[in-house]
Amino acid sequence: MAEMDTSSGGGHKKGPGVKKGKKLSTRVDLTPMVDLGFLLITFFIFTTTMSQATAMKLILPKDADKPEDQNKAKQSGVITILLGKDNNVFYYEGELDNSASNFKSSNFHDIREVLINKKNSVRDVKDFVVILKPSDECTYKNVVDILDEMTINVCTRYALVDITDIEAQLVMRSEAMATAAPAN
Protein backbone atom coordinates (compact mmCIF):
# COMPACT_ATOMS: atom_id res chain seq x y z
CA MET A 1 0.00 0.00 0.00
CA ALA A 2 1.08 3.49 -0.66
CA GLU A 3 1.25 4.31 2.94
CA MET A 4 3.98 4.57 5.45
CA ASP A 5 3.87 4.01 9.10
CA THR A 6 3.98 7.49 10.50
CA SER A 7 2.78 6.78 13.95
CA SER A 8 5.42 7.42 16.53
CA GLY A 9 6.85 4.24 17.85
CA GLY A 10 5.27 2.68 20.89
CA GLY A 11 3.27 5.68 22.01
CA HIS A 12 6.33 7.40 23.30
CA LYS A 13 5.36 10.42 25.18
CA LYS A 14 6.98 13.64 24.31
CA GLY A 15 7.94 16.20 26.81
CA PRO A 16 5.41 18.81 27.81
CA GLY A 17 7.11 21.56 25.87
CA VAL A 18 7.37 19.65 22.59
CA LYS A 19 4.71 20.48 20.10
CA LYS A 20 3.21 17.65 18.24
CA GLY A 21 3.88 17.91 14.53
CA LYS A 22 0.77 17.63 12.46
CA LYS A 23 0.53 14.15 11.10
CA LEU A 24 0.29 14.30 7.30
CA SER A 25 -1.02 11.29 5.49
CA THR A 26 1.40 9.91 2.94
CA ARG A 27 -1.37 8.12 1.12
CA VAL A 28 -1.44 9.30 -2.48
CA ASP A 29 -4.55 9.17 -4.55
CA LEU A 30 -3.58 6.97 -7.46
CA THR A 31 -6.78 7.34 -9.46
CA PRO A 32 -5.39 9.88 -11.96
CA MET A 33 -2.35 7.70 -12.49
CA VAL A 34 -4.57 4.72 -13.26
CA ASP A 35 -6.50 6.92 -15.67
CA LEU A 36 -3.32 7.91 -17.38
CA GLY A 37 -2.16 4.31 -17.59
CA PHE A 38 -5.31 3.11 -19.27
CA LEU A 39 -5.39 6.14 -21.52
CA LEU A 40 -1.93 5.26 -22.78
CA ILE A 41 -2.93 1.64 -23.25
CA THR A 42 -5.94 2.58 -25.34
CA PHE A 43 -3.82 5.01 -27.33
CA PHE A 44 -1.27 2.35 -28.12
CA ILE A 45 -3.87 -0.22 -29.02
CA PHE A 46 -5.67 2.12 -31.40
CA THR A 47 -2.58 3.44 -33.09
CA THR A 48 -0.99 0.04 -33.64
CA THR A 49 -1.78 -1.47 -36.97
CA MET A 50 -1.90 -5.18 -36.57
CA SER A 51 -1.66 -5.83 -40.25
CA GLN A 52 1.09 -7.97 -41.57
CA ALA A 53 1.82 -7.99 -45.23
CA THR A 54 0.44 -10.93 -47.10
CA ALA A 55 1.70 -12.48 -50.25
CA MET A 56 -0.15 -13.23 -53.42
CA LYS A 57 1.26 -16.00 -55.47
CA LEU A 58 1.64 -15.74 -59.20
CA ILE A 59 2.95 -18.52 -61.32
CA LEU A 60 4.28 -17.52 -64.69
CA PRO A 61 3.99 -19.71 -67.74
CA LYS A 62 7.14 -20.79 -69.42
CA ASP A 63 7.60 -19.05 -72.71
CA ALA A 64 6.67 -21.42 -75.48
CA ASP A 65 8.80 -20.86 -78.53
CA LYS A 66 6.91 -23.08 -80.91
CA PRO A 67 3.29 -22.25 -81.64
CA GLU A 68 2.21 -25.86 -81.21
CA ASP A 69 3.45 -25.79 -77.59
CA GLN A 70 1.20 -22.94 -76.69
CA ASN A 71 -1.92 -23.49 -74.74
CA LYS A 72 -5.04 -23.45 -76.80
CA ALA A 73 -8.27 -22.06 -75.53
CA LYS A 74 -11.74 -22.55 -76.90
CA GLN A 75 -13.05 -19.36 -78.36
CA SER A 76 -16.44 -19.66 -76.72
CA GLY A 77 -14.99 -19.77 -73.23
CA VAL A 78 -12.53 -16.94 -73.54
CA ILE A 79 -12.93 -13.48 -72.15
CA THR A 80 -10.22 -10.91 -72.65
CA ILE A 81 -9.85 -8.09 -70.16
CA LEU A 82 -7.88 -5.01 -71.09
CA LEU A 83 -6.67 -2.52 -68.56
CA GLY A 84 -6.41 1.11 -69.57
CA LYS A 85 -5.31 4.19 -67.75
CA ASP A 86 -7.28 5.84 -64.92
CA ASN A 87 -8.72 2.51 -63.79
CA ASN A 88 -10.55 1.92 -67.04
CA VAL A 89 -11.38 -1.66 -67.89
CA PHE A 90 -12.38 -3.00 -71.28
CA TYR A 91 -13.33 -6.49 -72.23
CA TYR A 92 -14.48 -8.61 -75.10
CA GLU A 93 -15.69 -12.16 -75.31
CA GLY A 94 -14.25 -14.64 -77.72
CA GLU A 95 -12.28 -13.10 -80.49
CA LEU A 96 -12.19 -9.43 -81.32
CA ASP A 97 -14.21 -8.97 -84.49
CA ASN A 98 -13.15 -6.66 -87.27
CA SER A 99 -15.43 -3.79 -86.45
CA ALA A 100 -14.66 -4.16 -82.74
CA SER A 101 -18.38 -4.30 -82.00
CA ASN A 102 -17.91 -6.69 -79.11
CA PHE A 103 -15.40 -4.40 -77.46
CA LYS A 104 -17.06 -3.18 -74.30
CA SER A 105 -16.13 -0.77 -71.60
CA SER A 106 -16.39 -1.52 -67.90
CA ASN A 107 -14.80 -0.68 -64.57
CA PHE A 108 -13.33 -2.50 -61.62
CA HIS A 109 -16.66 -2.71 -59.89
CA ASP A 110 -18.70 -4.10 -62.75
CA ILE A 111 -16.12 -6.46 -64.10
CA ARG A 112 -16.95 -8.95 -61.36
CA GLU A 113 -20.47 -9.35 -62.65
CA VAL A 114 -19.21 -9.71 -66.20
CA LEU A 115 -16.88 -12.48 -65.10
CA ILE A 116 -19.57 -14.30 -63.15
CA ASN A 117 -22.00 -14.11 -66.07
CA LYS A 118 -19.42 -15.37 -68.49
CA LYS A 119 -18.40 -18.17 -66.17
CA ASN A 120 -21.99 -19.30 -65.78
CA SER A 121 -22.70 -19.15 -69.48
CA VAL A 122 -19.75 -21.32 -70.44
CA ARG A 123 -20.89 -24.89 -70.74
CA ASP A 124 -17.79 -26.49 -69.34
CA VAL A 125 -16.00 -24.57 -66.59
CA LYS A 126 -12.74 -26.04 -67.81
CA ASP A 127 -13.07 -24.04 -71.00
CA PHE A 128 -13.40 -20.79 -69.14
CA VAL A 129 -10.21 -18.84 -69.70
CA VAL A 130 -9.54 -15.23 -68.79
CA ILE A 131 -6.89 -13.37 -70.71
CA LEU A 132 -5.55 -10.28 -69.02
CA LYS A 133 -3.94 -7.65 -71.15
CA PRO A 134 -2.64 -4.68 -69.23
CA SER A 135 -1.79 -1.71 -71.40
CA ASP A 136 1.28 0.42 -70.82
CA GLU A 137 -0.80 3.08 -69.14
CA CYS A 138 -2.31 1.02 -66.35
CA THR A 139 -0.76 0.83 -62.91
CA TYR A 140 0.59 -2.00 -60.83
CA LYS A 141 -2.42 -1.64 -58.56
CA ASN A 142 -4.75 -2.34 -61.48
CA VAL A 143 -2.90 -5.53 -62.30
CA VAL A 144 -2.97 -6.72 -58.71
CA ASP A 145 -6.66 -5.83 -58.48
CA ILE A 146 -7.58 -7.80 -61.54
CA LEU A 147 -5.48 -10.77 -60.43
CA ASP A 148 -7.24 -10.53 -57.10
CA GLU A 149 -10.53 -10.58 -58.94
CA MET A 150 -9.47 -13.92 -60.41
CA THR A 151 -9.00 -15.27 -56.89
CA ILE A 152 -12.25 -13.80 -55.68
CA ASN A 153 -14.27 -15.32 -58.51
CA VAL A 154 -12.29 -18.56 -58.48
CA CYS A 155 -11.16 -18.30 -62.08
CA THR A 156 -8.58 -21.01 -62.21
CA ARG A 157 -7.37 -20.43 -65.73
CA TYR A 158 -6.07 -17.01 -66.49
CA ALA A 159 -3.07 -15.61 -68.25
CA LEU A 160 -1.22 -12.33 -68.42
CA VAL A 161 -0.63 -11.61 -72.06
CA ASP A 162 1.00 -8.71 -73.86
CA ILE A 163 -1.41 -6.33 -75.47
CA THR A 164 -1.48 -6.16 -79.26
CA ASP A 165 -1.21 -2.92 -81.19
CA ILE A 166 -4.80 -3.07 -82.40
CA GLU A 167 -6.07 -3.53 -78.88
CA ALA A 168 -3.86 -0.79 -77.50
CA GLN A 169 -5.23 1.58 -80.12
CA LEU A 170 -8.78 0.56 -79.35
CA VAL A 171 -8.22 1.20 -75.66
CA MET A 172 -6.75 4.61 -76.41
CA ARG A 173 -9.56 5.53 -78.75
CA SER A 174 -12.24 4.43 -76.30
CA GLU A 175 -10.61 6.43 -73.55
CA ALA A 176 -10.42 9.49 -75.70
CA MET A 177 -14.10 9.07 -76.53
CA ALA A 178 -15.01 8.62 -72.87
CA THR A 179 -13.25 11.84 -71.91
CA ALA A 180 -14.76 13.74 -74.80
CA ALA A 181 -18.31 12.52 -74.17
CA PRO A 182 -19.16 14.49 -70.99
CA ALA A 183 -18.12 17.74 -72.67
CA ASN A 184 -20.74 17.35 -75.38
Binding site: L30, M33, T48, A55, Y140, K141, N142, V144, V154
Partner: protein, 215 residues
Protein backbone atom coordinates in the same frame (compact mmCIF):
# COMPACT_ATOMS: atom_id res chain seq x y z
CA UNK B 1 -32.27 3.12 23.19
CA UNK B 2 -29.43 4.08 21.00
CA UNK B 3 -29.05 2.35 17.70
CA UNK B 4 -26.05 0.21 17.09
CA UNK B 5 -23.53 2.41 15.41
CA UNK B 6 -22.48 1.17 12.01
CA UNK B 7 -18.77 1.46 11.59
CA UNK B 8 -18.06 4.25 9.10
CA UNK B 9 -16.16 2.87 6.22
CA UNK B 10 -14.04 4.92 3.92
CA UNK B 11 -15.26 5.02 0.35
CA UNK B 12 -11.84 5.54 -1.13
CA UNK B 13 -10.44 2.44 -2.71
CA UNK B 14 -6.80 1.71 -2.84
CA UNK B 15 -5.79 2.29 -6.41
CA UNK B 16 -2.28 0.96 -6.18
CA UNK B 17 -3.10 -2.48 -7.46
CA UNK B 18 -5.06 -1.15 -10.38
CA UNK B 19 -2.29 1.25 -11.22
CA UNK B 20 0.15 -1.63 -11.23
CA UNK B 21 -2.03 -3.57 -13.61
CA UNK B 22 -2.45 -0.63 -15.97
CA UNK B 23 1.24 0.02 -16.25
CA UNK B 24 2.05 -3.64 -16.47
CA UNK B 25 -0.24 -3.91 -19.48
CA UNK B 26 1.20 -0.74 -20.93
CA UNK B 27 4.76 -1.99 -20.68
CA UNK B 28 3.68 -5.34 -22.09
CA UNK B 29 2.17 -3.70 -25.16
CA UNK B 30 5.10 -1.42 -25.70
CA UNK B 31 7.65 -4.17 -25.39
CA UNK B 32 5.82 -6.65 -27.59
CA UNK B 33 5.22 -4.18 -30.41
CA UNK B 34 7.50 -4.83 -33.30
CA UNK B 35 8.28 -1.65 -35.07
CA UNK B 36 8.22 -1.50 -38.79
CA UNK B 37 11.76 -1.00 -39.92
CA UNK B 38 12.08 2.36 -41.55
CA UNK B 39 12.21 1.80 -45.24
CA UNK B 40 14.61 3.55 -47.49
CA UNK B 41 12.24 3.13 -50.39
CA UNK B 42 8.74 4.41 -49.86
CA UNK B 43 6.22 2.04 -51.38
CA UNK B 44 2.46 1.92 -50.89
CA UNK B 45 1.44 -1.61 -51.56
CA UNK B 46 -1.94 -2.60 -52.99
CA UNK B 47 -4.55 -4.68 -51.22
CA UNK B 48 -5.57 -8.21 -52.01
CA UNK B 49 -7.58 -11.02 -50.48
CA UNK B 50 -4.52 -13.23 -50.22
CA UNK B 51 -4.33 -14.69 -46.75
CA UNK B 52 -0.85 -16.10 -46.68
CA UNK B 53 1.63 -14.14 -44.62
CA UNK B 54 4.59 -12.94 -46.63
CA UNK B 55 7.84 -14.67 -45.77
CA UNK B 56 10.45 -12.53 -44.06
CA UNK B 57 13.45 -14.85 -44.06
CA UNK B 58 15.69 -15.77 -46.92
CA UNK B 59 14.07 -13.36 -49.27
CA UNK B 60 14.95 -11.85 -52.59
CA UNK B 61 12.67 -8.91 -53.02
CA UNK B 62 12.27 -6.77 -56.07
CA UNK B 63 10.80 -3.36 -55.32
CA UNK B 64 9.14 -1.13 -57.86
CA UNK B 65 8.60 2.39 -56.60
CA UNK B 66 6.01 4.84 -57.81
CA UNK B 67 8.24 6.19 -60.57
CA UNK B 68 8.85 2.71 -61.88
CA UNK B 69 12.37 2.50 -60.50
CA UNK B 70 13.45 -1.00 -59.62
CA UNK B 71 15.46 -2.06 -56.59
CA UNK B 72 16.68 -5.42 -55.40
CA UNK B 73 16.61 -6.26 -51.73
CA UNK B 74 18.28 -9.29 -50.21
CA UNK B 75 18.94 -10.47 -46.68
CA UNK B 76 21.35 -13.38 -46.99
CA UNK B 77 24.83 -11.97 -46.49
CA UNK B 78 26.68 -15.04 -47.65
CA UNK B 79 24.83 -15.03 -50.92
CA UNK B 80 25.53 -11.35 -51.36
CA UNK B 81 29.23 -11.99 -50.79
CA UNK B 82 29.24 -14.63 -53.50
CA UNK B 83 27.46 -12.22 -55.81
CA UNK B 84 29.96 -9.46 -55.15
CA UNK B 85 32.86 -11.76 -55.89
CA UNK B 86 31.24 -12.95 -59.09
CA UNK B 87 30.59 -9.38 -60.16
CA UNK B 88 34.19 -8.42 -59.47
CA UNK B 89 35.59 -11.27 -61.50
CA UNK B 90 33.19 -11.20 -64.44
CA UNK B 91 32.61 -7.50 -64.80
CA UNK B 92 35.74 -6.20 -63.14
CA UNK B 93 33.82 -3.60 -61.18
CA UNK B 94 36.20 -3.42 -58.24
CA UNK B 95 33.39 -3.46 -55.70
CA UNK B 96 33.90 -3.26 -51.99
CA UNK B 97 32.72 -6.73 -51.01
CA UNK B 98 32.15 -5.75 -47.40
CA UNK B 99 29.95 -2.80 -48.31
CA UNK B 100 28.07 -4.94 -50.82
CA UNK B 101 27.47 -7.54 -48.13
CA UNK B 102 26.12 -5.01 -45.68
CA UNK B 103 23.97 -3.11 -48.12
CA UNK B 104 20.32 -4.11 -47.61
CA UNK B 105 19.37 -3.27 -51.16
CA UNK B 106 20.80 -2.32 -54.50
CA UNK B 107 19.54 0.39 -56.74
CA UNK B 108 22.01 1.34 -59.41
CA UNK B 109 23.24 0.15 -62.74
CA UNK B 110 26.30 -2.08 -62.73
CA UNK B 111 28.39 0.89 -63.80
CA UNK B 112 27.12 3.04 -60.94
CA UNK B 113 27.28 0.33 -58.33
CA UNK B 114 30.64 1.35 -56.97
CA UNK B 115 29.56 4.91 -56.26
CA UNK B 116 26.27 3.57 -54.86
CA UNK B 117 28.17 1.49 -52.33
CA UNK B 118 30.40 4.43 -51.48
CA UNK B 119 27.37 6.44 -50.35
CA UNK B 120 26.77 6.41 -46.62
CA UNK B 121 23.79 4.24 -45.75
CA UNK B 122 21.55 7.06 -44.58
CA UNK B 123 21.83 8.74 -47.95
CA UNK B 124 20.67 5.71 -49.88
CA UNK B 125 17.09 6.79 -50.27
CA UNK B 126 14.88 5.43 -52.97
CA UNK B 127 13.94 8.79 -54.43
CA UNK B 128 17.55 9.85 -54.87
CA UNK B 129 18.81 6.68 -56.47
CA UNK B 130 18.64 5.78 -60.14
CA UNK B 131 17.39 2.25 -59.61
CA UNK B 132 18.35 -0.80 -61.61
CA UNK B 133 17.85 -0.02 -65.31
CA UNK B 134 15.07 -2.20 -66.71
CA UNK B 135 13.14 0.03 -69.08
CA UNK B 136 15.26 -0.68 -72.07
CA UNK B 137 14.30 -4.22 -73.01
CA UNK B 138 17.59 -4.86 -74.80
CA UNK B 139 19.53 -3.91 -71.71
CA UNK B 140 17.42 -5.16 -68.85
CA UNK B 141 19.99 -5.32 -66.08
CA UNK B 142 17.61 -7.00 -63.69
CA UNK B 143 17.93 -10.10 -65.84
CA UNK B 144 21.63 -10.19 -65.05
CA UNK B 145 20.93 -9.55 -61.39
CA UNK B 146 18.51 -12.44 -61.27
CA UNK B 147 21.06 -14.69 -62.97
CA UNK B 148 23.54 -13.69 -60.27
CA UNK B 149 21.00 -14.44 -57.57
CA UNK B 150 20.16 -17.78 -59.07
CA UNK B 151 23.81 -18.79 -59.37
CA UNK B 152 24.63 -17.56 -55.87
CA UNK B 153 21.84 -19.59 -54.33
CA UNK B 154 23.14 -22.68 -56.11
CA UNK B 155 19.92 -24.53 -56.61
CA UNK B 156 18.36 -23.50 -53.33
CA UNK B 157 15.10 -21.68 -53.79
CA UNK B 158 14.87 -18.30 -52.13
CA UNK B 159 11.44 -16.81 -51.69
CA UNK B 160 11.07 -14.38 -54.48
CA UNK B 161 8.96 -11.40 -53.64
CA UNK B 162 7.73 -8.50 -55.65
CA UNK B 163 6.70 -5.34 -53.90
CA UNK B 164 5.22 -2.74 -56.17
CA UNK B 165 3.80 0.67 -55.58
CA UNK B 166 0.16 1.29 -56.40
CA UNK B 167 1.11 3.96 -58.89
CA UNK B 168 3.89 2.12 -60.67
CA UNK B 169 3.11 1.74 -64.32
CA UNK B 170 2.78 -1.61 -65.97
CA UNK B 171 5.90 -1.53 -68.21
CA UNK B 172 8.16 -1.62 -65.13
CA UNK B 173 6.22 -4.61 -63.83
CA UNK B 174 6.46 -6.28 -67.21
CA UNK B 175 10.21 -5.91 -67.45
CA UNK B 176 10.54 -7.39 -63.98
CA UNK B 177 8.44 -10.35 -65.05
CA UNK B 178 10.57 -10.74 -68.14
CA UNK B 179 13.71 -10.77 -66.00
CA UNK B 180 12.17 -13.47 -63.81
CA UNK B 181 11.07 -15.56 -66.74
CA UNK B 182 14.44 -15.46 -68.44
CA UNK B 183 16.01 -16.96 -65.36
CA UNK B 184 13.37 -19.61 -64.82
CA UNK B 185 12.02 -17.97 -61.71
CA UNK B 186 8.46 -18.85 -62.57
CA UNK B 187 6.94 -18.61 -59.12
CA UNK B 188 6.93 -15.44 -57.18
CA UNK B 189 4.82 -13.71 -54.60
CA UNK B 190 3.49 -10.23 -54.61
CA UNK B 191 3.46 -8.41 -51.30
CA UNK B 192 0.09 -6.94 -50.51
CA UNK B 193 -1.94 -5.69 -47.61
CA UNK B 194 -4.72 -7.97 -46.47
CA UNK B 195 -8.29 -7.16 -47.40
CA UNK B 196 -11.55 -8.85 -46.55
CA UNK B 197 -13.12 -11.13 -49.13
CA UNK B 198 -16.21 -9.39 -50.58
CA UNK B 199 -19.42 -10.88 -49.24
CA UNK B 200 -21.42 -13.02 -51.65
CA UNK B 201 -18.63 -13.90 -54.03
CA UNK B 202 -17.59 -17.40 -54.87
CA UNK B 203 -14.48 -17.28 -52.76
CA UNK B 204 -16.52 -16.03 -49.84
CA UNK B 205 -18.96 -18.91 -50.24
CA UNK B 206 -16.07 -21.32 -50.28
CA UNK B 207 -14.65 -19.82 -47.13
CA UNK B 208 -18.07 -20.03 -45.48
CA UNK B 209 -18.40 -23.71 -46.26
CA UNK B 210 -15.07 -24.25 -44.58
CA UNK B 211 -13.23 -25.15 -47.72
CA UNK B 212 -9.56 -24.44 -47.54
CA UNK B 213 -8.10 -22.11 -50.05
CA UNK B 214 -5.29 -23.27 -52.16
CA UNK B 215 -2.41 -20.91 -51.92
Amino acid sequence: MGRAKLPRKSTSIDMTAMCDVAFLLLSFFILTTKFKPSEAIAVTIPKSVAAKVAPTKDIVQVIIDKDGKVFLEMDDEEVKETMANTLNTTKNLGLDVKAFKKSPFFGASFGGLKSFLALPEDQRKGNLLPGIPVKDSSNNELTEWMTLVRDAYQGKKPSLLLKGDNLAKFPAFKSVITAFKKNDFLKFQMVTNPEAVPVGTELWKKAQSGEKREE
